[in-house]
Symmetry: D2
Subunit: 340 residues, 4 copies
C-alpha cells in the first residue's frame, strides 16, 4: 500500500501517522520528494481500511498495490481449480455447457427441454425455481416445486442441475442440487455468501450488473473465507449506456479472471445480450477467449415462456449453436465434455 501525503503535512502529523500505521504490524518507508512525499507500507495490508487511512488529515490519497483477496488469488494458488460436478469436470480440459430454461414452468416443460438439451450435447441442466424479477407482478417461479421438477429432470437425463438461490432461508431445499447459483443482483448479498461458504457445494457466482472484477473476486473470497473453495465465477454482462443489448458482455473478463484467479470461469451470453440471435456469436467468442463453460437458455416453446422469452433458444436453434460450439471447442483443444 502506498500513502501519498498532503504537501502541507507537518513532520509531527507524519510521525503520528507512521506510529499509528505501525500498530497494524506493517513496516513503513517514507520517501521524500521535491513535490510530494509518500509512505510505502510493507507487510500484510489486507485487513487495513483504505478509507480510514484517507480520513487522516495529512493524507492526500491511498493506493493499494496488492490484491485484497487471497483464497481466490492465483498468486497463492497457481494451479487451476477443477471441480467435479456429478462426474463432470469444470475448470479442466473439457468445456461444459449448461443449458435449460430461464424458469422451470411445469414437469412437461422441464423434462422436454432437458431431453432436448441433452440430445444436443449440453452437459448440465439449468432452470430457475426461484426467479428474481424486476416486477412483483411477473411470474416468481415455482420455488420448492421447481427444484423437485429439476431433480426429476436430472433423474430422466443424468444431467447435474444448476439452480439459483435467492435467500438463505431457502438453502435447506438445495441439498440435492449439484450447483447453487447466486444471481447478479445477489453478488453482494454478503450474509447469503457467508452461508454458502459453510455449504459443501459448488457455487456459481454471477458478476453483478455494475460490479468490477475485483469486487467479483472479493465476493468469491467471502464464500472461500468461510471454508467452501468450490466457487465458479460467471460473467453475464455489465450495464453500460448501449441500449441495443440488455447488457454488454465483457469478454475480456475471461482472460483477466483466469489470470488473476485459479477458479473456473463461466459465461452466460443469454442474460448478457437478451437477444437469442446473439447467442451463437457470443458463445463462440467466449470459447475462443478461453472460458471453461457456457450457460445458455433453451426453452421448448420460447414464445409461451413465462419469463425472458426473447433470449431463449428453441431446441432446434440450440442444436445448431451446439454444433458450432462443439467444433470450435474441439479446435481450440478444449472439447465439450462427453462424460459417457
Amino acid at each position: 500500500m502506498v500513502i501519498v501525503l498532503k504537501n502541507e503535512a507537518t513532520h509531527q502529523q507524519v510521525k503520528e501517522l507512521v506510529n499509528w500505521l505501525e500498530g497494524y504490524n506493517v513496516k513503513t518507508n517514507l520517501v521524500e520528494g521535491v513535490h510530494s512525499r509518500i509512505i510505502g507500507l510493507i507487510g500484510d495490508t489486507v485487513h487495513m481500511d483504505i478509507d480510514t487511512i484517507e480520513a487522516n488529515e495529512c493524507v492526500e490519497a491511498v493506493r493499494r498495490v496488492q490484491e485484497p483477496y487471497k483464497n481466490a488469488n492465483r498468486k497463492f494458488h497457481p494451479d487451476d481449480t477443477v471441480l467435479d460436478i456429478f462426474g463432470r469436470k469444470l475448470g479442466g480440459d473439457r468445456l461444459q455447457v449448461i443449458a435449460g430454461p430461464c424458469s422451470v414452468e411445469s414437469e412437461k416443460q422441464i423434462i422436454e427441454t432437458a431431453i432436448a438439451c441433452k440430445e444436443a450435447g449440453a452437459t448440465m441442466l439449468r432452470g430457475g425455481a426461484f426467479k428474481p424479477r424486476t416486477s412483483p407482478y411477473s411470474f416468481q417461479g415455482l420455488r420448492k416445486e421447481g427444484i423437485e421438477l429439476l431433480l426429476k429432470a436430472k433423474q430422466e437425463t443424468g444431467l447435474p442441475i444448476v439452480t439459483e438461490v435467492m435467500s438463505l432461508e431457502h438453502l435447506y431445499m438445495f441439498s440435492e442440487v449439484d450447483v447453487i447459483q447466486v444471481g447478479a443482483r445477489n453478488m453482494q448479498n454478503f450474509e447469503l455468501l457467508k452461508a454458502l461458504g459453510r455449504c459443501d457445494k459448488p457455487v456459481l457466482l454471477k458478476r453483478g450488473l455494475s460490479s468490477t472484477l475485483e469486487e467479483l473476486l472479493m465476493s468469491a473470497e467471502y464464500i472461500m473465507s468461510e471454508g467452501n473453495s468450490k466457487v465458479i465465477l460467471c460473467e453475464r454482462g455489465i450495464r453500460t449506456f448501449e441500449p441495443m443489448t440488455r447488457n454488454t458482455l465483457d469478454i475480456s473478463a475471461i482472460p483477466l479472471l483466469k489470470h488473476k484467479s485459479h477458479l473456473p470461469v463461466v459465461v452466460d451470453p443469454s442474460h448478457a445480450t437478451g437477444i437469442s440471435k446473439l447467442i451463437e456469436p457470443m458463445s463462440l467468442a467466449a470459447v475462443a477467449a478461453g472460458c471453461d463453460a457456457l450457460e445458455i437458455e433453451v426453452h421448448c416453446d420460447p414464445k409461451h415462456a413465462l419469463s425472458d422469452g426473447a433470449q431463449q433458444l428453441t431446441p432446434d436453434a440450440f442444436r445448431k449453436v451446439m454444433e458450432k460450439i462443439k467444433a470450435l471447442a474441439e479446435f481450440v483443444g478444449k472439447p465439450v465434455d462427453n462424460a459417457e
Copy 2:
C-alpha cells in the same frame, strides 16, 4: 404498449399474435404504414412480459408506454406521502436530517456521536449494526449488540433511529427500530423486499449502484404490493466512469422521483461521494433541488473509525454544515424539522 412488427411478418403470423395478445384481456389496434406496421395495446399491460412478446418471430421490438408500477405512481396517488417517524414528519413541509456514524462501534462512540448530532440539529440518528463490506476481512458490524446500542442512544437523545437490515432472518431484531434501511446492494433482494412489505414500519430503500430510477420504483412496488406503503426512496450515487468520486450523485433523481412518485426522497451525499469535503456542497444542492431529507455520516473520531473514515464528518465539521443546511432549508421554505 406498442409492438413493432417485422417487415417480413405474414398476415397469418400477425393474426395469431393478435389473438394471443387479446388472451391477456387487452384490446389491439393494428396500424399499417408504408415502411412499418405497429400494434397498439389498449388496457392494463402491467402483467405482460415484454421479453415474451419479443420472442414472437414476427415482432421486431416492443415499447412500453405506461409505467409498470402502480402503488408507487403519482398518477394514481397525486398527494405526497407524509410519514410519521416517532413524531418527525418525512415527506411534508419539513426537512429531516438523518446523521450518525457509518458503523456503531461502541456505546461511548454512538452515544457521544448521537448527542453531538442532536446538538447540531440532526433530527434522526443513523448507525450501521449490520455492515455490508466488500471484503470479508473488514469489520462486519456489532450486529444485534449494535441495534441495542442504537436504542440506548435513542433513549439518551430522543432521536428516532435508522439502521440497515442485510438479511430477512435478522428482521426479528428490528422490532424497535424506527426506520429499516435497505442498502444499495440489496435493492433487488426481492425476498427481503417482500418480507419488508409485510412489516408495518417505514423502509428507507437505497437506489442500487447501477439501478435505473424505474427499477428503484419497481423495488418500492415490491414492498408496497405486499401491503406496506411506508417507503422512502434514497438516492446515494450511481456508478460511472469518473474516478474522482466513489460514485456520482444523481441530483436530477430528486425532481424526477418527486414527479413520478408520491413517496419521500432522501439523499445520501456521504456514500455518493466518499469524500467528506463534498458533503456540504452536495447537501446544499440536494436541498435546493427539493429533497425531503438528507442522510449524513458523522463520527466523533473519523480517523479511528472502523469503516468509511474518509467520508465521515467530525461533529465540528457537521455543525458547520448544519448551519448552512438550516439556513438554506429555511430559505427554500422547507425548514429543518424542530419537533420540540
Copy 3:
C-alpha cells in the same frame, strides 16, 4: 509517480529500469517489502508516459501521484481566475446567466429571444450558429449568417455572445464573438484546442459525454499551454445507464473542479437533462453547489424550434426560473450580475 514491480523481476531488470528512469531527470527510491517492491519517482513526471513505463517487463503497475496538469492546477495558481467578458466578470463574486436558443434560426427569433432573456435577467446571450447534430438530415445551423445575427442581437441588447465553433477553419468568423464555445463532442479535438490556445478570447470548454474531470482539465491545459489562459470549464452531463434523462448532470463536478483548478465553472442543465421542467431544480442545485455561471436554453417558440425543442424554456418559463435563481444567488452571497 509510484512504480510497482513484478514479484519475479530480477535485480538486473530493476537496475536497468532505474537507469532508464533516471534518464528522465527524476530521482528514484526503491522500497523493498515482503510481498512487493515499489519505486518512488521524485521530480517532474508530467512528461513521462505511464504506458511506456508499464511496457517494461518487470513492471506490474504504475500509479500517478501528482496531477498531470499545471496551468490549470490550483496548487500552482491558488487565486480564482476572474475573466472580464464585455464588462461581465466570470469567476468572481457575481453569478452569470448565459441564456438563449439552442440554434439561431432567424433574425426575428434571435432578437426576440435575446430581448426576452435580457428582460428576465440573463447576463449573456448564447445561440448556436454551427450545430453539431447526430443526424446529417437534421438542421445544421445558419453558420456565418448565424454569427452575424448574434452580433445584431448583441447590438440590440448589450449582451455579450457565446457561440460554438465546430472546426478550426471557421475560427476566422469568430473575431467579434465574446466567448467561443467548444462542444462536448470536440472536447478532445486537440488540433482545435491548440488553435484556440493561440487566440486571445475566452473559451468555454464543455466536458465530453464520457470524459473524466481530469481529462477536462487536460483539455484546458492544451489551450493554456499554447498561451491562452482564459478557459471556462463547463459541466453538461455525462453518459450513464439511466434513460430518464438525456445525460446525468454531475453536480459534484462543481466543487471538485473549483478545488482542483482556479478556472471558472459553468453548468448547463439544459443539455444535461434534455427536459425543460428539470431546468429549475438543477439550476438551483448548481447555484447551491457553487457554480460561477449557468447556461440555459430559451426559445421564443420551443415547439417550432429547429433543434432540441424539448429542453428549451419559453421566455415566460425562463422568467419564473430566473426569479428563483436570482433569489437563491443573492442568498448564497453570489448575486446574479447586474452590470448596469
Copy 4:
C-alpha cells in the same frame, strides 16, 4: 414513429398536433385507449426531430420505430459492402489484419516494424502520424513526415497504409494514404466527417468512447450522405466503470453492426484493453464473432515507444498471436488474406 400523448391533452391540442405533423408529409393514425392515446406516424420520418415533437405541450414521449440511417442500413442494401484496398478485399471472405506501431517514430522504426508485421502475416500497415494525446506534454506525432515515412514503408513492403487524420485542414496530406482513420475522439467531429464524405477514399471510423452503435452508424451516415460510401466501422472499446482494462471491448457490436449494416467491421483489441497480453484472446474472440478485420499495435521495441507502450506487441509476440489468428480464421472459413 410513435407519439404518446399526455392524459390531459385536449382534443383541440391533439388536432393541432396532428395538423402540424401532417405538414411533414407523413400520415398519422390516432389510437385511443383506456389509459393512454398514441399517434402512429406513417411515412419517412428520418428528417423529423424527436426533441421538437416532445416540446409540444400535449406530448408525453416519442419513440422512434425505424432506424434514422439509410445509406448505412442493411435493410436498404442487403449485400455486404466489399472494399478493395490496394488489392486487399475488406468485408468479403478474407480476414484482414492491420498491424503496426501506435506512432510512427523514425524511418528505422517504421520500416523495421512493417517488415516484421508483413513477415508475420499482416495484410495492412497502421501507424500514427498525427497523434491525439490526452496531454499536451506527450509526443504529438511526426505529422507530415510521419505520412512520408509510412509511404516509404508501403514501398518497402507492399502493405497498404492506414493512418489517422485529426483535422480537416490536414486532409491534403493524405492523398496517397490507402485508408484514412477517424479516431474515437473525432467520431462526432461532424465537419471532418462531411469533408471525408467528399473524398474518394476508404474511411475507417472508430466508435467513440461512449457512443452507441446507432450513433456510430449515424456518423457513417454523415460520410455516406456526402457521397463516399467506403466506410469501415471499428469497435475499439467503450468506457465503463471497470478499471482493470482501459476500456471494455464490446464484442457484441460485431454481430449487431453486421446485422444492422452492410459495412465492414474492424476490431481494435489494442486500444480497447490497453494490455498487450489480452490481445491474443480478444483477437480470437473477435474472429469467432465474425469480424472482417483486426487492427493490432506492434512495435519493434515497445518499451522505448513514444506512446502506448503497454499495449503494443513485440514482433515476436505478434508472430505467435498471428499463428493462432491464422488457424482460427481458416477454421471459421474466413482465412487471413494472402494477396500474393
